[in-house]
């Protein structure tokens, strides 16, 4: 067994000795399960608002970008460990996350979250509310006094409401709107809640150079209105 580990170690040390410059490829980490922000389309590729935004930002910053999907649960540890270079996954800028990673400036404004339920008389402050693990919505529900049930994927939170496991789900308004439209038995209830400080790209705290490049690219898209056009196209949030 020792031999195997040593062998693997030796192999990994000698493998690929070609020299790579600083960020010759920027790996963009996303979840791929949160339409319209990011999802895997029918061809099996990453698609959505953030795909289009990310490609445009990379073009403006003259970076060579590649898309990677990673589970939401381990999306931050894999960034700090260097398995990809950015998180572009509808991640809201919060103080807790900012302690671990850095964020670029927000590319969408703080967007209201909504409750989605099967009937309009649910108790949002005392009932059972579903949310995705590790989201700002989960944090909000835990503090609101309601009973929080967490799920690993956005899809499961919706399913929990449909099968009665939860009274309602709290998620981004843009994610819930098309679902409420398509399902006759689900509806948006209560008032929208404003959470977080907008959605930005996550980068390693040590990666100030990359952060500056993306900050500049986002600013240029804000200035020429192309960011607003993209937000309107995918209906992800309010405009700047």
């Amino acid at each position: 067994m020792k031999k195997l580990i040593l062998g693997a170690l030796a192999l990994s040390i000698t493998a690929g000795a070609a020299y790579a410059g600083s960020h010759s490829v920027v790996r963009m980490g996303t979840e791929g399960a949160y339409p319209p922000w990011n999802f895997i389309n029918d061809a099996g590729e990453v698609d959505g608002f953030e795909r289009e935004l990310g490609d445009e930002l990379c073009k403006r910053a003259e970076l060579n970008c590649e898309w990677v999907t990673n589970e939401w649960d381990s999306i931050i540890p894999n960034l700090t460990s260097g398995n990809y270079d950015t998180i572009i996954a509808g991640m809201s800028i919060t103080a807790e996350r900012d302690e671990v990673i850095d964020f670029t400036q927000a590319y969408t404004p703080a967007d209201p979250s909504n409750y989605l339920a099967a009937s309009d008389d649910v108790d949002l402050m005392g009932g059972v509310i579903a949310a995705q693990t590790g989201t700002i919505q989960a944090g909000y529900v835990a503090e609101s006094g309601a009973m929080l049930v967490e799920f690993a994927t956005p899809d499961e939170t919706i399913a929990a409401v449909q099968n009665g496991e939860a009274d309602a789900v709290l998620a981004d308004a843009s994610f819930l709107a098309p679902i409420a439209e398509q399902n006759g038995d689900l509806m948006i209830v209560g008032d929208p809640v404003a959470l977080g400080g907008g959605v930005g790209m996550g980068v390693r705290e040590s990666d100030a150079e990359l952060k500056a490049k993306f900050d500049a690219a986002i600013q240029s898209m804000k200035d020429d209105g192309s960011l607003n056009a993209l937000i309107a196209k995918w209906e992800v949030s309010t405009q700047w």
Partner: protein
Amino acid sequence: MAIFSFCTDPATLETARWFVCYLTNGKHLIAYTSFGTVLLLLAITAPTALAFGFGGAIAARSRIAPLRWFGKGYTSIVRGVPDIVFFLFFVIALDQAFEWTRHQFFCPDWPDAIRQGNDFVVCQRAKLPLSNAPQWVHEVYGFLLAVLTFAIVFGAFAANVLFGAMRAVPRAQIETAEAYGMSERQAFWRVLIPQMWVFALPGLSNLWMILVKATPLLFLLGVEDIVYWARELGGTKGALFDYPHPDWRLWYFLGLLVFYLTLTRFSEIVLGRLSQRLSHGQATLAGEAQRKAAV
């Protein structure tokens, strides 16, 4: 992209053709290859884990104290740590260990610290795989990390099973071998090992069954396995998709159920035959029954 020419506009298709197109779209084709990924993982992991287990069991029996401590420590520590912890953090640590070693080797005069707060930063040359490597290299690397992690975890359980099996071989067998003038090593390899397998098989077959079902842990390592795809493909698809549909996860998971039941049933048959074969000529009840039936 589509395989069939009539799949250009899914919205206009009648049901049968819609399903043909839906089930052959790019996303489904990728999903089908993940069955291969899972089978390949099992095919590589099982022998590797067995080798780890064998090494661990021999180490745990060793007369050399440090080797014995290593063997015992390996089995008890790995068996005691929850799988999810292993798969979330150990893999990242393993990856960092590789990169750290490469960093010392390639960039000895790097001025910055490797650990900067929460970040783990090595020089670009030390990255594994290199960040400009094509995506498939990253995927193969992730897959190999997965195999190694699975092998270490399941190897620890296998080591414990084999350690017990080695003790289950009747002492009289070894004594007889020694009386015939075999050295300790010869008695171990020629008498103990061949007889041990029949005692180890029930435990090992349990491990195999658990390994078959543990593959969803792959997604924690970024390897997209069949359970990930069932969840992804079955989830509600809105108007953004070419093939919108409601929540079909139940059907996809039913498909997985069939796959897993077929695989485990097939394994049971193979393991049953193996057990029969190993019992042949053994001083066990099953071996005795075979001998009587043959008379």
